[in-house]
Symmetry: C2
Amino acid sequence: MAATIYQVADLAGVSIATVSRVLRGTAPVAVRTRQRVLVAVDELGYRPSQPARSLAEGRHAANGIVFPDLSGPYYADVVLGYESVAAELGSSVLILSTHGRAKEIPDLVVDLASRVDGLVLLGRTVDDGLVAEIAADGTPVVTVARAPLPGIDALCTENRASARALATHLVDHGYCNAHFLGDVDSSFDAHERWQGMNEAFADLGCPVPLQVPCPYDEENGQMAAAQLLGGANRPDALVCANDEIALGALLAAEAAGLRVPDDVALTGWDDVMAARYSRPGLTTVRQPMRRLGALAARRLHERVTGERPDVAHEVLPTRLVIRASCGGHPEPDEQEE
Amino acid sequence: MAATIYQVADLAGVSIATVSRVLRGTAPVAVRTRQRVLVAVDELGYRPSQPARSLAEGRHAANGIVFPDLSGPYYADVVLGYESVAAELGSSVLILSTHGRAKEIPDLVVDLASRVDGLVLLGRTVDDGLVAEIAADGTPVVTVARAPLPGIDALCTENRASARALATHLVDHGYCNAHFLGDVDSSFDAHERWQGMNEAFADLGCPVPLQVPCPYDEENGQMAAAQLLGGANRPDALVCANDEIALGALLAAEAAGLRVPDDVALTGWDDVMAARYSRPGLTTVRQPMRRLGALAARRLHERVTGERPDVAHEVLPTRLVIRASCGGHPEPDEQEE
DNA sequence: ATCACTTATGTAAGCGCTTACTGCCCTGAC
DNA sequence: GTCAGGGCAGTAAGCGCTTACATAAGTGAT
């Protein structure tokens, strides 16, 4: 169906090498010859076969990105930032979502690795062992939002300092009996946040916050919060590992007839759109998702092309966004960036 | 670096054909031979080269999806639904975002087409002409949320009926002087919604709603709404083409000191998360984004494999979600699906 | 006119697989 | 004991490109 380089060469009356040279501009071709080739290409609607090209060139001109999920803006934005830079750098983007596929992940990731020049892995989508194996097999890897692995490029966002800032803010406003909602073992970020918060609370002489495991969605946030807020020893603040949990907690608080922030303060992480529209507005930590993805694409490209031999672990800054859900503040101006 | 089939064959003491047969299971291989091959594969960490495979097989085992953007949950969810089914059907997924790349789109899309067995196109990302050209070149195409093209599979969500229902609801509650916010020429969906609304208003004897062009984001929604709400002939309802615009309008209404829904009713489309958390909650129309993507993957697969020769245009149902922003209702129970 | 180079093009050897053919060996029916 | 047939495995021909190498034709200097 599709035309091949041979047909173009025939029609133009040249050899396939010349066609290739015209199309890639890798060697000088006489103007008239070039014209003939271009006309033939046009006439046949010729498009080079990418697999053939990849095979001959020994590269895919494509990168892959693996993420847990795309619901919720977090990963979607990272992917978006990634895609935009990857396209700019001339590589196609293959995606793989691991959500609900625990069993097949290794196969899927290995298969993906065989189709790309390099891979970006978000979060804990892939076991450390498998990451190492893939990297060892020669596929450059950049991890994002995951505990850095030796010898592998890693990108993270700043968590501890912002967690400390958040905790300090809470204590300053009289909230000393806080709980942390979110499973700190399932996510590097959450663990760091939890640590930072712990440190700050300890420094400020408050009791160590209780850590309450909870999947990262509204429903589970709501359930977990409902239980905590209905219990005997009610915390006066819930620091949630992400905004979804926090918004779920907000619903739970409403349902329990509690006022936010008067009876209980609530904070999240990520600054999703709903955090701005909820009432009260949700105090949260904004992360540079887009930039994270974009930077991952750059780093991966550098690694693929070999222009950066040394491994880099980078941390991007985050910003605390104070809204009404944590008390002591009128609905503040939105300081958009 | 990576092992090839030749090395595996050498190590196992067989021919490459046998290795291939073991790996693909395309022909019977003696148990002992198979064992030897598998051991060799394991030892060398051999992974078949995907480009070589594609070239030999004449298929990519990959599909592509083109979308405008991934910010906002709409396209993200469609992509997610798509990816999950595509993976299940054994094809990798290549993505291409057209956002802010008007000029390069044709090249990018054509390049993408050369890497996949089929393409899903969301919205108006690609000109009709280019779509036809790609389809004519032999790449199966499924369009989503776009005016159906002759000879090309198309998937849409229902718009007119839900727009009519929405309009009827508004009129029933006393809002007769509505405006439609959103550019009806830039989106098939928006155009349909606008039509449906027009019909209903006409049927019910209300003035024809004014259509106010507006890009589909909060900021522009806010600006456009601010202007309308501050103007002389203030509408009593704003029907917005999506939730982002509506939420922007909500901010504008607040800023103008207007009460929603008492002074002005507001409705959106899509049912994004923030629509549930805004106060008042945003009346909107929920769309089966995930299913849309999943179905697109199925239809594309059927077309690629040739198991469905006839072109199909399908319309998926939507559901009106009434919340407080359109008046006449207490904050309703959330009827999640 | 000759030589040493450039410049433009062709030739052909891969790239790493899949698969149609072919051939070998072993079985069971006669 | 022969022979047909089936089960396995090897041979080799592509798949559609890129590119090193070879070649032919032109250029200017001598």
